[in-house]
C-alpha cells in the first residue's frame, strides 16, 4: 500500500485526506472504519479484536477467579520522557491487575479524542500501546473511539480496562498487613511525577529525569515464585508511596513505620522536589511497587526482585507495627518522627 512517511510511523493512505481527527472519525461510519482498519487493527493485531463484534469473545483459563480493573488516563503532555499516554495506559492497567496477583490476560481500549488531534500522533500512541501490550504479554481485544469538539477535550484521553486470572493460591489485599511484616519498594521513587512535571513546566535539571513507566507483571511473577504468602502489593501511582501505604495501614488497621534513610529517592528527584515544593513520598510512580511481606520471606523476595530488571533497586523501607494503627509514621534522618497523612488532593494534577 502507498504510504505517507511520518517520523517513526507511516500513515496509511486512506487517512491522507484527514491529517487531523475530525468529528466524523467518531461517528461509527466510513471514517471510523478507516481508523479501525488502518490504525487500530494493524497495531493491536489479534483475531479476537479483528472479529469486530460488539464485544470481544475471550476464553479464560480453567481458574475462574478473575481480576477486573479500569483506569482512565488524562496525562498531559501526551508524550513525555520515558513514555506516552499509550504506554502509560497499558502499563497502568496491567499493573493494577498484577497488584492483585493476577496474570493479566486482555485489555480494552477506549479513546476519547479531541477534534484536531493529528492522526500521526494518534498513530504513534497506538503503536506505543501495542508495543507495551506486547512486552506485558497482554492482548488488546476490544475498543471504542469517540471524538469531541475542539475545546471539549484535551487532545486524547484513553481508558483501559483489563481482565486477569488470579492463581488459586494467591490471596493479596490491602487489609492483610500484619504486625512484624516488612515493607519493600522495588526501586527509586518519584521519577514519573517529576518527569511529567518538569516537562510541563519546561524545567531542566542537571540530569534528565525519565518516567519509570513499565509493566510490573513479570516482576510480580518472580516474587510469587518465592512464596504465595505476599500480603499486599500496590503500585504507588497518584499520591505516591505515602498514599499507598496510608491505604494499607487503614485497611489493615496497623501502623506502618518508614525509615527515611532507606527510601530510595534519586538525588535529581530530591532536587526537583525541593525546587517545586513537593514531597517525593507523594509523587506518582508508574513502574514501581510496594509490597508488604512476612518478615521470614523478605530476604528471598528481595533477592528475587533484585535479579529482575525492574527490581534491581528493591529494598526494605519499613515495617508494620502495632503502634498508631491506621497511620504511616516516618522516622527522619534526624531521628525525629512525623506522620505521613493523606493529602487533601493531589500535588500534581493529571500525571496519569
Amino acid at each position: 500500500m502507498d504510504r505517507l512517511d511520518f517520523e517513526g510511523w507511516t500513515c496509511p493512505l486512506p487517512l491522507r485526506d484527514y491529517p487531523r481527527v475530525v468529528l466524523g472519525h467518531g461517528g461509527g461510519g466510513r471514517l471510523s472504519g478507516e481508523l479501525i482498519e488502518h490504525i487500530f487493527l494493524p497495531a493491536f493485531a489479534n483475531d479476537t479484536l479483528a472479529a469486530l463484534g460488539d464485544s470481544a469473545r475471550i476464553e479464560t483459563p480453567a481458574s475462574h477467579r478473575l481480576a477486573f480493573t479500569t483506569d482512565s488516563f488524562v496525562v498531559s503532555p501526551l508524550f513525555f520522557r520515558g513514555g506516552d499516554i499509550g504506554s502509560l495506559a497499558v502499563n497502568g492497567t496491567v499493573n493494577d491487575l498484577a497488584m492483585s496477583g493476577a496474570r493479566p490476560l486482555v485489555l480494552s481500549a477506549g479513546f476519547i479524542i479531541e477534534e484536531g488531534l493529528s492522526v500521526e500522533d494518534l498513530g504513534r500512541i497506538v503503536q506505543s500501546m501495542a508495543a507495551a501490550a506486547n512486552i506485558a504479554g497482554v492482548k488488546i481485544v476490544t475498543g471504542d473511539t469517540k471524538v469531541v469538539e475542539r475545546g471539549k477535550g484535551d487532545g486524547l484521553f484513553i481508558n483501559t480496562s483489563g481482565i486477569g486470572a488470579i492463581p488459586d493460591d494467591v490471596d493479596m489485599s490491602a487489609d492483610k498487613a500484619r504486625v512484624g511484616d516488612y515493607v519493600i519498594v522495588s526501586g527509586e521513587i518519584g521519577l514519573h511525577g517529576i518527569a511529567i512535571m518538569s516537562q510541563r513546566e519546561g524545567l531542566e535539571f542537571d540530569a534528565e529525569i525519565s518516567s519509570d513507566c513499565a509493566a510490573l507483571n513479570s516482576l510480580v511473577e518472580a516474587m510469587l515464585k518465592i512464596t504465595k504468602e505476599i500480603r499486599v502489593l500496590r503500585d504507588p501511582t497518584r499520591g505516591g508511596l505515602a498514599t499507598a501505604l496510608n491505604e494499607i495501614a487503614k485497611a489493615s488497621n496497623v501502623g506502618i513505620r518508614l525509615d527515611d534513610e532507606r527510601i530510595p529517592v534519586p538525588r535529581t528527584v530530591r532536587a526537583a522536589c525541593e525546587l517545586l515544593g513537593l514531597d517525593p513520598l507523594y509523587v506518582a510512580n508508574e513502574g514501581k511497587l510496594v509490597a508488604v511481606v512476612p518478615r521470614e520471606h523478605a530476604r528471598r523476595i528481595i533477592e528475587s526482585m533484585q535479579s529482575h530488571p525492574l527490581g534491581t533497586g528493591a529494598t526494605i523501607v519499613g515495617e508494620v507495627t502495632d503502634q498508631n494503627p491506621g497511620f504511616v509514621v516516618l522516622k527522619t534522618t534526624f531521628g525525629t518522627t512525623r506522620i505521613l497523612d493523606l493529602h487533601l488532593g493531589e500535588q500534581l494534577p493529571r500525571i496519569c
Copy 2:
C-alpha cells in the same frame, strides 16, 4: 448523617464544602476518598467494589467463554428526556454484551470529570447508573475517577467496560447471516438520536420525543429461550439501523433487502428528521435491537419479543438475499429501490 437536600438526591455532608468538583477530587487523596465513600460506594453498594483493591475480584460461572466490551460515553447534554449519561453508560455496555448473547455480569465505571461539574449533578448521574445497573441485573465492581481542568473536558465523560458469560450453545456474530434469513427490529427507531438532537437544538415538537435508552439483556434472554439459532444481534446505536445492517451485510457477504413500509419510524421522528435534514435509518437508538434469524424461527421469535415490554413493536423489516452481496437495499414505498450506503461520518455527533 446530616445531609443537604437536593432535588431527587441528597448530598452527604462531607462534600458540602465542595459543591463543585475540584482537581483534587481526582488526586487519589482525601477528596477522592470522599467521592468514593459518599457518592460511589453507597450507590453501587456491593462487596466487590467495597474491597477497593487495585482491581475487583470476581467469580465467573463455570462457563469460561466470556464477552468483554468497552464504550466511552460523551453524550451532550448530560441529562436528556428518557435518560442521562449515567443510564446510557450502563445500558450501552449491557447491550453490547447482550448482542453477543452473553449474560452481563459486571461493569467497570471510569469517570473523567471537568473541574466545575456540580457534585449534585454527579450524584444524580451516579444514582441513575446504579438504578440502571439494578434493572439490568449487573454489578458495578470497579471504578476510577480523573478530573481535568476547566475547558479541557465537557462536564463528564464516562467509560464503562463489561464482562458477560456466553452460554455454551450460543454462537452469534455479524458474519453468520444466511440467504433467506429474516431481519427483525424490536420496535420504533430513531428515538434516542432525535431526543438528544431536539433537546440540544432547543426544538419542540408536537409530541415530546424521549430516548429509548434501555437494557436489552432480558429481551435477548427471552429470544434465546425460543431458539439458540439466532444468527446475528446488533444494537443500532451510532449510525443507526442502516449502519448496523451494512456491517452485517459486509461481514456475512450477503445482500440485505429492507422494506421501507415495514420499518417502524414514529410519525414524530419522521417529522423531526424532515425538519433537521436527517435520515431516520441512520439515527441512533439505545434501546432497540436488530436480529437476523432463520426464517423458520422468525414467527416464534417475534411472538416472544412482542410479549416482552421492550419488544412490543417487534416486526420483520426485511430479508437476507443473494443479490448485491455486501449491500443494504431499501425498497421504498414508491416501489423503487435505493442503496443504504455507509455514511462518511455521523450526522449527529455526541449522541452517545
